[in-house]
């Protein structure tokens, strides 16, 4: 004989008396279960770091350098970006500013926009039009110090400089890979985050061996832990990793 004596539930009838206490316990358990899992998954998220937009608008004067990606060697800083600093430049959203400064290579310009910072990595998201980037080429441009730091093999992650600098928190990692690739194809400067600091800095702007932009060859390697070889230069205060793209390989 069957030993199945469980009260039989039929959806359109009242729940059998023998089942009601079980259902009550199930309801409470379900509410507690959802609350518990929500708490567990919410409170175990890793710290995204202290990167982010800095308050206030920054207006800076400096020398514009376009290769491998637009950067400004600041000659007149602000209360948050000091003179002598080299900052990366980007446009709004996932866009670069290559086209806006292409005729001003090496010239003095005045820029205005919102600053982002992660450690010693600083970026300005330019305002639109002349308010964001104005020609001051009638001012004599000072020379920019360039120091060859030799050939290096680095391990770390290739990121888009803008999300890394705090446009998103977190702006790194595999979940962010598609966003990073969209940023890079839009012209945002790529940045190599070294697992070991190089000359005191863990962030290096990336270019190819000739100092030209290097975007398409990087897209398969963004957000991964990789190893790459190349020459490193210090331009102003910024390290530039002139990478040989054939040496990039993911590490386990």
């Amino acid at each position: 004989m069957s030993e199945n004596r469980t009260p039989f539930f039929v959806g359109y009838l009242s729940a059998p008396k023998g089942l009601r206490s079980f259902l009550l316990v199930s309801i409470v358990s379900m509410l507690l279960f959802f609350a518990g899992v929500g708490w567990l998954l919410a409170t175990t998220q890793p710290d995204p770091g202290s990167a982010g937009f800095l308050p206030g608008r920054q207006t800076l004067i400096g020398v514009l350098e376009n290769k491998p990606y637009p950067m400004l060697h600041v000659t007149e800083g602000s209360n948050r970006i000091s003179t002598g600093t080299t900052v990366l430049l980007s446009g709004g959203g996932k866009r670069g500013v290559q086209s806006r400064g292409k005729d001003l290579e090496g010239a003095v310009v005045r820029i205005s926009g919102q600053a982002l910072a992660r450690g010693d990595l600083q970026m300005i998201q330019l305002r639109g039009g002349m308010q964001g980037l104005a020609d001051m080429s009638d001012t004599e441009a000072p020379g920019i110090d360039v120091e060859d730091l030799g050939k290096w093999r680095l391990q770390g992650e290739i990121c888009d400089g803008k999300c890394l600098a705090g446009a998103m928190r977190p702006g790194t990692g595999l979940a962010h890979k598609a966003c990073a690739n969209l940023c890079l194809t839009g012209g945002v400067p790529p940045v190599f985050v070294s697992s070991q600091p190089v000359e005191g800095s863990e962030f290096l702007l990336v270019g190819n061996a000739n100092g030209e932009p290097l975007t398409e060859q990087l897209l398969d390697y963004t957000a991964l832990f990789v190893e790459a070889e190349g020459r490193i230069e210090r331009r102003g205060s910024l390290l530039v990793f002139l990478m040989d793209p054939t040496t990039v390989r993911p590490l386990p």
């Binding site: 199945n4 959806g11 509410l31 609350a35 929500g38 595999l174 969209l182």
Partner: protein, 349 residues
């Protein structure tokens, strides 16, 4: 059961089910979204759009895991049948939670770009040759498409239109969809975690779904009798079937037959409910009718027809008694064919 199509046949149990469901999801999202940043106490919090995407994505995964656990849990213990009764509302709500997750992702990771959002989803990452760095989004897209398809076809109109067999096969896509979503999470969000708890959560979820299905399969295999398609086959002794219950026989051709006892009489009908192929043999006889454990569809044991005014019908089988043994003719009668119940004391073979 209904003789016409209406959007939702509401009843008290469905109201309670949906209220508990919405409350559960609401509590999850409230704790994750509102309390998460407070409890984490990061110097600068996770960007709200990313935080919300994580909340809705993880909630959808949890909901889908529970949906897949309900079926085997109800096979192992009928006390869980009430959770199965309104499961399709669970599924539709899961779709909405998943769509919200997708909305946050599209409007953040794929926004502000010269590349259109949907084009970006398909072209931003094309590292198909790698495991780490694989465009895990494609697994999410597959899961979402399946959830959408199942939600759209969840109404009984589609069940009737597609036929229960095809509808059931279509809805079995939920299993590959779940596997795809495990891959979506494992190759995406999980890779950026420093805490082991998310990996434990995913392993526990996928492992739980697998273990429950395996346990239900083994229980079913143990409780069924598989018989060859000879002329007449022995089911069991009459006393082995409790009044109001059934013994399920699995024929060699894969068909299942439920042999029911009603008082001193025995009748056999197909084990597959005409509604969603629910296991009639795990149901009971209520008010003289076999009642499906899933949604309460009813059939007369003597002819496999639903009582008037309903029109569902299932195949019937002929029985005979050989002494105390119940004998079954494995040739199915057309759905709704009347049969003569056999009673103890007869020897009709």
């Amino acid at each position: 059961m209904s003789v016409k199509y209406i959007p939702v046949q509401w009843n008290t149990n469905k109201w309670i089910y949906d209220i508990v469901l919405i409350l559960s999801v609401g509590i999850y999202l409230w704790i994750f979204i509102e309390w998460g940043p407070v409890l984490l106490d990061h110097g600068k919090p996770v960007t709200p759009q990313i935080h919300n995407a994580r909340a809705f994505g993880s909630c959808a995964f949890l909901m889908l895991t529970l949906i897949l656990c309900i079926g085997p849990a109800a096979r192992l213990n009928q006390k869980f049948l009430p959770l199965l009764y309104n499961r399709r509302h669970f599924g539709v709500l899961t779709l909405f939670v998943a769509l919200t997750h997708v909305g946050y992702i599209l409007d953040w990771y794929y926004a502000f770009s010269p590349t259109p959002k949907l084009e970006g989803v398909l072209t931003a990452n094309t590292s198909f040759g790698r495991v780490l760095g694989f465009p895990f989004e494609v697994f999410g897209i597959f899961g979402l498409v399946v959830l959408l398809l199942l939600a759209v076809t969840s109404h009984d109109f589609w069940l009737k239109f597609l036929t229960p067999r095809l509808w059931k096969r279509l809805h079995m896509l939920l299993y590959p969809a779940y596997a795809a979503l495990v891959a979506h999470v494992a190759l995406g969000a999980l890779q950026d975690q420093t805490s082991p708890w998310r990996a434990i959560f995913i392993l526990f979820s996928a492992g739980g779904v697998t273990a429950l299905h395996a346990a239900a399969f083994l229980k079913e295999a143990r409780s069924e009798t598989t018989v060859s398609l000879n002329d007449w086959i022995t089911v069991c002794d009459a006393d082995d079937i409790e009044d109001g219950f059934a013994r399920v026989v699995r024929l060699e051709n894969g068909e299942r037959v439920a042999v029911f006892r009603s008082g001193e009489s025995f009748s056999a009908i197909s084990n597959a409910c005409a509604h969603q192929n629910g296991p009639l043999g795990e149901g009971r006889i209520v008010d003289g009718c076999v009642t499906c454990p899933w949604h309460g569809f009813q059939y007369r044991v003597s002819d496999g027809c639903s009582p008037e005014p309903f029109t569902e019908r299932v195949p019937t089988y002929n029985l005979a008694l050989d002494g105390a043994k119940i004998m079954l003719n494995p040739d199915a009668n057309p759905p709704g064919t009347p049969t003569t119940p056999v009673s103890l004391g007869e020897n009709g073979k």
